[in-house]
């Protein structure tokens, strides 16, 4: 018993303490070094932080290079896939474009009204820094869903800046190095974002779940279990972490998510396809209720009114156009009918003209026959005279002259 315990101790000692051949460091020494590194790093010890920054810069660049072939394959696969979907997407896009065109003017008016009201309550933010960055590393970790971008403190990137992909929220900066930064994606389980559900303005906190979806936690004031309509999820701006109104995703009706107890937020963006992102920071616009802002507000009101008038005019013009179109169609129909009538009448006139001609001929014939009965013998050729043959034209003329000779 005693000897077996000794064997274990010897084996452990040999494994951890003995510096084996071709090993420059002992295992236990390195384990202690790791623990020290971990502890000092968590305590923000400056030299360790410097080492960390250097290691990060090296690793991010190396990882970008090493992931090159894989990214090349992935990129080509996506390109080919997109190519095959192009026709269907084009058809859908055309339909969408039409519907968006219709909504555009109304949206402009709503935006201007929104700006006006936000200024009135001193909650209007303007972009003060906007940078585009390339995604260097997109390694999905089970502990942290994050990406590395190629902009750092050198490019005025600061902690907490918002990351957008085509206007949709995808994350925020959680770590800034000199040339690179780490973005915590909203799909991460540790990211807690104050959101608002529209319509209804229900407040909630959203946490990440997986690449394409998140879950709502702490839903306030509303039971969404029997939700039958699609809800739009936007940032609420609560807590000052994000500005309000950045779109995140949608909550589809319950049929889709029956198996889960949580409300599933389907993100607008696919986080596995990120290539370039926009890093933005916002600042509150100065002066909201002073004279200048009142003037601004008045200007905005003027713009809103102008836009409203434009919309009204547009509506009237559209109505007029509709009426004019109806009249035109009616006139065209009438015109067609009249044309037909004219053709019919022309045909009738031609027939009548023919009849008249025939009548004239008949009348002349009757007159000839009558005169022929009376004066025929005066014009008729016989053995005793040298007059005209009965069928000849001269005979006819003679009958019409009542047998009188020509002067």
């Amino acid at each position: 018993m005693e000897s077996s315990r000794d064997d274990i101790v010897i084996a452990i000692r040999s494994a951890f303490l003995k510096k084996e051949t071709q090993q420059r460091f002992s295992l236990l020494g390195l384990i202690f070094f790791s623990i020290i590194f971990l502890v000092l790093g968590s305590l923000d010890f400056k030299p360790v932080n410097y080492i960390k920054t250097i290691v990060k810069e090296i690793v991010y660049r190396s990882s970008y290079i090493i992931s090159g072939p894989e990214n090349f394959v992935k990129k080509n696969y996506v390109t080919i896939n997109n190519h095959f979907k192009l026709y269907e997407e084009n058809k859908i896009n055309i339909i969408k474009l039409e519907s968006f065109k219709k909504k555009d003017l109304s949206n402009k008016i709503i935006t201007l009204e929104n700006i006006k009201y936000k200024k009135l309550i001193d909650d209007y933010f303007i972009k003060d820094n906007e940078t585009f960055a390339k995604v260097l590393i997109d390694k999905q970790s089970p502990f942290l869903r994050s990406i590395i971008i190629n902009k750092g403190s050198k490019n005025n990137i600061k902690l907490g800046m918002i990351i957008l992909d085509e206007g949709y929220l995808i994350g925020k900066i959680v770590e800034v190095n000199y040339l690179t930064s780490r973005v915590l994606l909203i799909s991460d389980i540790n990211s807690k974002i104050p959101v608002s559900l529209q319509p209804g303005d229900t407040q909630a906190i959203m946490s990440g779940k997986n690449r394409r979806s998140g879950v709502l936690q702490y839903i306030k004031d509303k039971d969404l279990k029997n939700n039958n309509e699609e809800l739009v999820v936007i940032t609420s701006g609560a807590g000052g972490l994000f500005i309000s109104g950045i779109p995140i995703g949608t909550i589809k009706n319950k049929k889709d998510d029956l198996k889960t107890n949580n409300e599933i937020v389907h993100f607008y963006r696919n986080f596995s396809q990120l290539k370039y992102v926009k890093v933005v920071s916002y600042s509150r616009e100065k002066g909201s209720l002073d004279t200048s802002s009142k003037n601004d507000s008045a200007k905005q009101a003027g713009k809103v009114q102008e836009a409203n008038q434009m919309e009204e005019t547009l509506k009237i013009l559209l109505e007029q156009k509709k009426i004019a179109e109806e009249i035109r169609i009616k006139i065209e129909e009438e015109n067609t009918i009249f044309k037909r009538k004219i053709i019919d009448q022309q045909n009738e006139i031609l027939i009548i003209k023919d009849d008249i001609k025939k009548n004239i001929i008949q009348k002349e014939e009757i007159k000839f026959l009558k005169l022929n009965l009376i004066y025929g013998h005066k014009c008729k050729k016989s053995v005793f005279n040298n007059l005209y043959k009965v069928t000849s034209k001269k005979y006819r003329d003679c009958v019409f002259r009542k047998g009188l000779k020509k002067n």
Binding site: F37, L38, K139, Q140, S141, P142, L144, I189
Partner: protein
């Protein structure tokens, strides 16, 4: 000539494990998170345990420590934690090597399961209680199970590469 070639191949083979380890930690494809709901495994654990057990030259603790640091940077965990875990894995493999007179694959396999259970629990405790990370226990269990199952497959694969591809005995 053929001796020189064989020698070169052996030298080249010596650096394959460590190269594989660095590629696996630096590459964007992470078997820990393939996006499949009930499938993930830790390739680095298998690699480190197997080659530590085989006492492979060039697979030095210093380089494993650096690989751990790199992994932490890429994955986003506190720097030093992966190094610690990797080194503990090396320690466990070295201990098994010391107590083993006649190597047995099944024993190695069971020992690997016990080791990854312990080190995963250890990393879970550190991440949850010290660094406030929210780690899903179920995902970790899935990871452990598949790492354990795939260990055997990878062992055969590594042996196949060693003998058939490189011709090293």
């Amino acid at each position: 000539m053929s001796k020189i070639n064989q020698g070169n191949i052996e030298v080249f083979y010596k650096f394959v494990p460590i190269t594989l380890l660095f590629i696996s930690v630096l590459n964007e494809i992470d078997f820990n998170n393939l996006g499949i709901k009930y499938f993930s495994f830790n390739f680095s654990y298998i690699l480190i345990f197997y080659y530590s057990l085989k006492k492979t030259k060039s697979f030095s603790y210093g380089l494993i420590f650096v690989a751990g640091l790199f992994n932490d940077v890429v994955v986003g965990t506190p720097m030093g934690i992966s190094s610690l875990i990797y080194l503990l894995l090396c320690g466990a493999a070295a201990y098994l090597r010391n107590i083993t007179l006649r190597p047995n694959l099944m024993k190695d396999w069971i020992f690997f399961l016990i080791t990854i259970l312990i080190i995963k629990s250890f990393s879970f405790l550190i991440l949850t209680f010290i660094f406030d990370y929210e780690v899903i226990l179920f995902d970790q269990m899935i990871n452990i199970i598949f790492t354990f199952i795939l260990y055997l497959i990878f062992i055969y694969l590594f042996n196949f590469i060693k003998t058939n591809l490189f011709g090293v005995n």
